[in-house]
Symmetry: C2
């Protein structure tokens, strides 16, 4: 079998040219006689890789100089506790916007340290929309406001980043980082697990404004203190070296396409094509309100679980893989991250049309 179109919510597709370059130099990186996986993290070889990865990300996201870029481990789930452990001020208050399964997990961890205040929620609408966040909702004493910019399971995304005034905005950007242009200066801290748009699983990227570093209590474990990693240039202990190398290659690949401006254009085209197909269909519907739709994770359902199952089975036979929706939403979910080619979405909508047409005969 040739390579297939993998619509997994993550880990998911990586750009084929990146995989091919990694494959080519897997046993001998740049004539060093070593695999990247074998390089000491203190070596000149690896220094070049990690500095290149940071610069690549800085260029793509136009990260201002007063922000640090950290390469960590543990995924967004570890950030759910690191954020309050590092950012809570004396008030111990934190404001959260509740938009789905992942914000719920973030709040559950924060509650171990903070007085968590849900300033607005879309739970009343089964998380099918993004609620408006206005400055008057925000507690002036809150140490930060937390949002999930893209909700992987529910298929929603903030189309506008809220203005939180002087209270730092913290964002879980795991499933839409690098998918479109973003003004980093609106955020105090951005975190993202790598396994959707950055690289392989096992790497977590944190972008944090300087003034938010150094406020952890003395009894916070060194590994959970942003200052530890900031001071050491993400080399306090052995980092996930191969994942950082892969991230560097992905950043270079996105830059070669034209950066986030181009990436956003391609992503909009892919998502528009799929949403139009759903809109024009008499069989499939989107559970998500129009103004809140994600460009990355697109759930759709047919009227019956039986039809969903038939669709999924036939799709897989055509090399359209991992389209099953999350159990909490049901139906189908197409995750079309940066590395999903336009041809993959075209193949999906072609099959959706055929499937519907065939049933109507």
């Amino acid at each position: 079998m040739e390579r297939i179109y993998n619509f997994s919510a993550g880990p998911s597709m990586l750009p084929l040219p990146v995989l091919e370059q990694a494959q080519k130099e897997l046993t001998n990186y740049k004539n060093s006689g070593m695999s990247v996986m074998e390089l000491s993290h203190r070596s000149g070889w690896f220094k070049e890789i990690i500095e290149g990865a940071e610069q690549g990300l800085r260029n793509l996201m136009k990260i201002p100089d007063d922000y640090r870029v950290l390469f960590l481990q543990g995924g967004a789930s570890q950030q759910f506790s690191m954020v309050p452990m590092n950012l809570l001020g004396p008030s111990k208050k934190a404001d959260y916007v509740h938009t789905g399964s992942w914000s719920k997990k973030a709040m559950k961890e924060a509650e171990k340290f903070a007085e968590v205040n849900v300033i607005v929620s879309s739970e009343d609408g089964s998380f099918t929309y993004i609620p408006e966040v206005t400055e008057d909702m925000i507690d002036e004493e809150a140490s930060y406001v937390h949002i999930t910019t893209n909700n992987t399971i529910e298929g929603t995304a903030f189309r506008n980043i809220p203005d939180t005034g002087d209270v730092p905005l913290v964002a879980d950007m795991s499933s839409n980082i690098l998918s479109e242009e973003v003004d980093v200066s609106k955020f105090g801290l951005i975190y993202a697990g790598a396994q959707k748009n950055i690289g392989p699983a096992g790497l977590t990227v944190v972008i944090i404004r300087d003034d938010l570093i150094g406020h952890a209590d003395a009894n916070v474990p060194a590994m959970l203190d942003y200052k530890t990693h900031s001071d050491a240039g993400s080399l306090y202990n052995t980092p996930p070296t191969f994942a950082i190398y892969m991230a560097k290659l992905v950043f270079e690949y996105i830059e070669s396409l034209g950066g986030l401006k181009t990436m956003e254009k391609i992503n909009r085209e892919k998502a528009d094509l799929l949403y139009e197909t759903i809109e024009n269909s008499d069989l499939f519907t989107s559970p998500v309100k129009k103004d809140s739709r994600s460009l990355m994770n697109i759930p759709f359902v047919s009227p019956s679980a039986q039809t969903d199952a038939e669709f999924l089975e036939e799709a897989q036979e055509r090399g359209l893989e991992t389209l099953k929706g999350h159990r909490s939403v049901g139906g189908m979910r197409a995750s079309i991250y940066n590395a999903m080619p336009q041809e993959g979405v075209q193949a999906l909508v072609r099959f959706m049309d055929e499937f519907e047409h065939h049933r109507n005969k």
Copy 2:
């Protein structure tokens, strides 16, 4: 340049057949049409990988059924805090054996949670030996006794595992796990960063006895609670999937050689050859006491920093890489983990002889 002999303390060499297999299937794993890095961690494909990795490790180390195997992130440095956060009983007391730089770091983190008692130390001898640990040293109220079985920087190793009676023995085995046969039942908990003998950096293996799971305080972050990962089969959140796949391949490779019995025999031969060369040399000396010598990390020094520098430069020209000693010990350090071929050690001792002979002319 062809592949070189890399004596790095870690990340370090991986078995070439493992790298070659990973290379072969990097863009299409077992005809799935996907890279291992692209597989959903919830897929059947990955389930087979993580279960295979666990079974491979269980077979190699003969892990008893009442122990769990966890695949985590964060390295030994994160275990330094996870151990006390999970294992401390009401007494909040923990006993530590102090044998070098890494045990010092382990204690520093534990002090944030525990009353740390150094029951014995080799600091008086600059950590050039392993002190004897006897049962009478151990506080009956201690929640655990912590040792570092192999000291990567100092080049020492416990040749006998102490008997700690009813107090669970916790071991940082990062730099000698899988290097020789071990009786897991002597330990309550074993942890190891992967990047020496297991696989690429970014994976941490924890082997924990059932009864030590589930004692973390309610406010411990979910990601730092062993119970979270034990209950979820290491799939609470996205694990470092590619590193786990590489570990599985390494476990299979060691099994194919004859398991830990053969591995230990090969490692003893490699280490014996290098120690004999040092003993027979008039130029090089070992700073480590004979009964405490590591099979994995072998420091040696010449009488002058100038000679050390010349040795290192000429060694590198011959494809003998990363032999520089840690700054705290100086001189040279040959890390000869499982994946260092016997030919690599032979090439090193041949060069040591030549270097010494050439100087004496």
